[in-house]
């Protein structure tokens, strides 16, 4: 708490990074005692793999209520356009059975249902899954408020790394701003491959790396200086949003993620940069 106040008072990046480094050192010392367990990253910190899901869980537990508000504030509303483009690329057809993983507050699912409004949508269905029940709660409430047909949408708490669905049970799998928070990306991808039927499509919308170093600098300044502050003011969560910007840096870039998607067995894999690579859409087919 004292540290946090200290940071709030001085926004210089030097202090900010010092703090991050000190924290990382601390965790490293702590974890040296148990060398047997595998390590992973949580933002810029290195932690035990078993801890990550709990930590991520806590982050989203805390931000769930203000999640959508914060998305608008941080991206100036552009995240809505990214998600619109994402749905346009998927272009669901009338018998699409969509699984939206990490889709707690329903942004993708509602776009899907809006997209299907104009076509005969008797056979289409969307399952929203999220590991976090608080996020799902927000989504369910929104779904009721917006009066979506409850027959077309169902909610399921699930871990992306072990989905409680049968093999070949969906023909589209989307994960928007979720893959970054998964401990083992490969496992999540394998699960995606498993639940998709042949001909099904995997699509991922996720933050990525800019292809221009000057813009990356501006983007970094914005991310590290402004976003945690915004998070503190709007959601009262400094650390959650510090984690957000750090985890974006730790996530594999476009090419590396594409490689992971390919290794899982997906074919006809492509990626598309939006806003010069701030986010990227990765796509693959199970053939």
């Amino acid at each position: 708490m004292i540290c946090q106040k200290f940071i709030l008072r001085s926004f210089e990046s030097s202090n900010f990074f010092k703090y991050a480094i000190i924290k990382r050192c601390k965790t490293q010392i702590l974890t040296e005692n148990e060398p047997n367990e595998k390590q992973t990253h949580f933002g810029f910190q290195t932690i035990n793999e078993s801890e990550k899901s709990q930590k991520v869980h806590k982050v989203f537990q805390d931000v769930a209520r203000n999640y959508d508000k914060m998305n608008d504030a941080m991206s100036f509303g552009i995240h809505r356009i990214w998600k619109d483009i994402f749905m346009m690329r998927l272009a669901p057809t009338k018998n699409t059975k969509l699984l939206d993983v990490a889709g707690g507050t329903g942004d993708i699912a509602f776009r899907f249902l809006n997209y299907m409004k104009h076509s005969n949508c008797e056979e289409c269905h969307v399952v929203v899954s999220d590991i976090n029940e608080n996020m799902l709660k927000v989504g369910k409430q929104r779904s009721e408020d917006l009066k979506y047909n409850p027959k077309l949408i169902s909610w399921q708490q699930a871990d992306a790394e072990s989905l409680p669905f049968k093999d070949n049970s969906f023909n589209a799998y989307t994960i928007a701003f979720g893959l970054r928070n998964v401990t083992h990306i490969e496992k999540a991808l394998e699960e995606a491959y498993r639940v998709l039927q042949p001909g099904g499509r995997f699509m991922c919308l996720e933050f990525s790396q800019l292809n221009n170093s000057t813009l990356q600098w501006f983007y970094d300044q914005y991310s590290f200086q402004v976003i945690p502050t915004l998070g503190h003011i709007i959601a009262g969560q400094w650390h959650a949003y510090q984690y957000l910007v750090e985890s974006i840096r730790k996530f594999p870039n476009q090419e590396k993620l594409l490689e992971l998607v390919q290794q899982t067995g997906f074919q006809d894999i492509t990626y598309e940069n939006l806003s010069m690579g701030i986010v990227a859409i990765h796509s693959g087919f199970k053939l």
């Binding site: 509303g77 483009i85 018998n95 042949p198 292809n211």
Partner: protein, 262 residues
């Protein structure tokens, strides 16, 4: 800082409308392992199957994503697989053109065998080949204006030109044109023009068995022969103009990225 949000939002808004400029689509190309080659093969086979099936739905649904969806569903794939063909209708048209070019080559080989027994003039051979190609379009006649419109969109022009040039090259080759001089450029261009004009005539032709289109084609070819005769007899083209025209063609071809692989 205040200009950044504006800047960003403008870019994103643009990205939405002109995906060519701001959205960079790249596919991964690092296939070294053999089973990946197999998979590639498998994937192109599936694409081929879907497109063949989709053609059946073109008269009903047009050259569109919907036709591809219907085709895919007919052979047991989920409709969502249409994402394999990001250009939608254009991919379907391009497939049709490439496929019918290949079929035409087979036909022309047959014609050539027949011609060995009773020789025909090259111009008659060309006429027959173009007729054959036009007949392939007839099942999709009602939807052909849409195809022409789609292939006239700037992003599709290079592929459209490539398939047209392949077509006329094949026709010239089988008609017996092995020339390596200026005619090698002139003839295909002339034939391409005649073919395209006949195609346009065909769209509005309501006569029995496309009789009037074929008459139109016949007249255009006779004219072409006349013009050719005049140029040959006049012998007025000096080497400089020839050279500059030839280099213009080569440049244009390189810009379009047309190599001679089909």
């Amino acid at each position: 800082m205040s200009s950044l949000p504006l800047f960003k939002s403008i870019l994103v808004r643009n990205a939405r409308h002109s995906s060519i400029i701001f959205c960079k689509v790249r596919s991964f190309s690092n296939e070294t392992i053999e089973n990946q080659h197999d998979k590639e093969h498998n994937s192109s086979e599936i694409k081929h199957k879907i497109l063949i099936e989709s053609l059946k739905y073109v008269p009903e649904k047009g050259w569109s994503k919907e036709a591809i969806t219907a085709g895919a569903e007919a052979i047991g794939y989920p409709g969502i697989i249409h994402g394999l063909f990001p250009s939608g209708g254009a991919d379907l048209i391009n497939f049709f053109q490439t496929d019918s070019n290949l079929k035409l080559v087979e036909k022309m080989k047959e014609f050539q065998k027949e011609a060995e027994a009773s020789p025909v003039a090259p111009v008659d051979f060309v006429e027959r080949a173009i007729q054959e190609k036009l007949l392939m379009i007839v099942p999709y006649k009602k939807r052909w204006p849409q195809a022409i419109a789609i292939m006239s969109l700037p992003p599709n022009v290079p592929t459209a030109l490539a398939s047209l040039l392949t077509l006329v090259d094949d026709i010239c080759y089988f008609a017996g044109d092995r020339s390596v001089d200026f005619n090698w450029y002139a003839r295909p261009i002339g034939i391409a023009g005649i073919y395209k004009a006949s195609e346009l005539y065909l769209i509005q032709d309501s006569s029995q068995d496309q009789k009037r289109t074929f008459e139109f084609l016949h007249r255009r070819l006779l004219e072409a022969v006349k013009i050719h005769d005049i140029i040959c007899k006049g012998d007025s083209t000096n080497p400089d103009t020839k050279e500059s025209i030839v280099s213009a063609f080569v440049t244009a071809r390189n810009i379009l990225g047309l190599n001679w692989n089909r």
